[in-house]
Amino acid sequence: MALLKVKFDQKKRVKLAQGLWLMNWFSVLAGIIIFSLGLFLKIELRKRSDVMNNSESHFVPNSLIGMGVLSCVFNSLAGKICYDALDPAKYARWKPWLKPYLAICVLFNIVLFLVALCCFLLRGSLENTLGQGLKNGMKYYRDTDTPGRCFMKKTIDMLQIEFKCCGNNGFRDWFEIQWISNRYLDFSSKEVKDRIKSNVDGRYLVDGVPFSCCNPSSPRPCIQYQITNNSAHYSYDHQTEELNLWVRGCRAALLSYYSSLMNSMGVVTLLIWLFEVTITIGLRYLQTSLDRVSNPEETESESEGWLLEKSVPETWKAFLESVKKLGKGNQVEAEGADAGQAPEAG
């Protein structure tokens, strides 16, 4: 009992082949889209690798790029097959290759689905690398003279301006690290000396933030220094002041950016996966209906196409049997050789 049998006459077969040919070429376009999505994500991750400790996983963009290339290759091949399917002579050439090709297509579809799932699930690892990377980035903010880290100040400043965020989890992170280089501290000033002495590690900590934390929407000029000291500024209460600095932490901001990027890529990949599954099903019907054309000369005859020759459990049993036979095949040959030798000996 075949699975989902459909009757095909000549016209229907021709229409199926033509439709599949068109769909395959659209699918090549879709493969290019997946490739460019993967490339875009890779470039975006590379751009901010400084604040990700250079240890971020590029699994998602790499797999998208790979899937895009494979999709282009498979679908252009399928397009060629569909084009030749209407010509019996040309189709005879492809006939022996079609079954393995369809098996590969099914495998490809499964992998594509897994890649689409990965787009949604892999944001957790990104969160960790971002947290670590931002912490280190802020630590090296003041090292503008150290080769290898001199760019960190610029990177963090541009990041905070672009993503409208401040610090790792909030602006108070800046109170805990020394972000002003010793080179620009006036050690003859009493205030500086007092601060450094009062700190256990001898660091110069201030309740101030860099200028890139400032929010342009604030009605008053930005208050960067002595943020927690209400008396230092006229008509200022740091508990109620919300517009002065960016409230969001950069880790949350970057995570939300990359999450939305990967989510939309996952949705697009899922839609393309559905398209590919449709194409594979259509190709299967074309293959089975063309194979069943009893007389190769009489192309006008009706034939049946199906997804599976027998029902699912029977097909699975037959598959297992063929696997066992492969295993037994070697044994039978060995026994046959022994049996052959025994009569000879005997």
Binding site: D145, D186, C214, P219, Q224
Partner: protein
Amino acid sequence: MAPVLPLVLPLQPRIRLAQGLWLLSWLLVLAGGLILLCSGHLLVQLRHLGTFLAPSCQFPALPQAALVAGAVALGTGLVGVGASRASLNAALYPPWRGVLGPMLVAGTAGGGGLLVIALGLALALPGSLDEALEEGLGTALAHYKDTEVPGHCQAKRLVDELQLRYQCCGRHGYKDWFGVQWVSSRYLDPSDQDVVDRIQSNVEGLYLTDGVPFSCCNPHSPRPCLQNRLSDSYAHPLFDPRQPNQNLWAQGCHEVLLEHLQDLAGTLGSMLAVTFLLQALVLLGLRYLQTALEGLGGVIDGEGETQGYLFPGRLKDMLKTAWLQGGVACRPAPEEAPPGEAPPKEDLSEA
């Protein structure tokens, strides 16, 4: 009447003309599309930068005119594609015969006129940008502190975002901020002696400082940003005089915006010029093709040689013919007599 600029067109050159016209028409479609994109982009940019241009500035007329001209060029290109395709196929040509004439007139008058207007605007308007920016930026800077005045409350945010995005400070340099009160009086402590002194020492009662807003800060500077007391060289020890420009953005917003907008207008202008050339070629080619095929009576594959021309006669002759035809149409009665006389004479001669 001798035709103007005739060109003999046997079958093969006609086919070549149609094929070349098809290619040129697709190029025209592409150019029209690019103009649509470019003027759309310029319009979006102007929407963001509108506050920094004086309200009397006419510059937004340029992308609007270019948008319409681009759409007409696109339409002309598509007509050219269709007509040149049809002229190679005998079954498709007859419906085009009647339509082509009026379309050519519309394309020349409408499309050509629009393109010339847009080109003229592209050449003339960028000159007015300088004054408009001067006035607009001056107003924006003056209203920076007015975050509670309705109508100007967005000025601070817009100026800050402008300086951050375009990497500039002030109008022509950071010192412009020294001449403007950019700290709102609401946040000035009236009991602070320094504030009172500053306000009293100023003729207009403004609170002027030698400081700049945070958006002027340059992230490339190796030291944390110095925003206050910039004219006092003793205020910031260890300030490296060899790197004065790294602390704040060196460029003024006027120069940056002027260059940006003039570049965009220049690109748009050159694309308009190319489209004008393409459109002229396409319209000329279509005219020659049309007149050549009319000479054959609309039969595409006629092997005979025909002439293509621009105008059937010189302008004076055409006007005279048109005048005469108009005059004849207004004299119905005398027309009847001469034909009435001729047939009786013929009968007599036959008989």
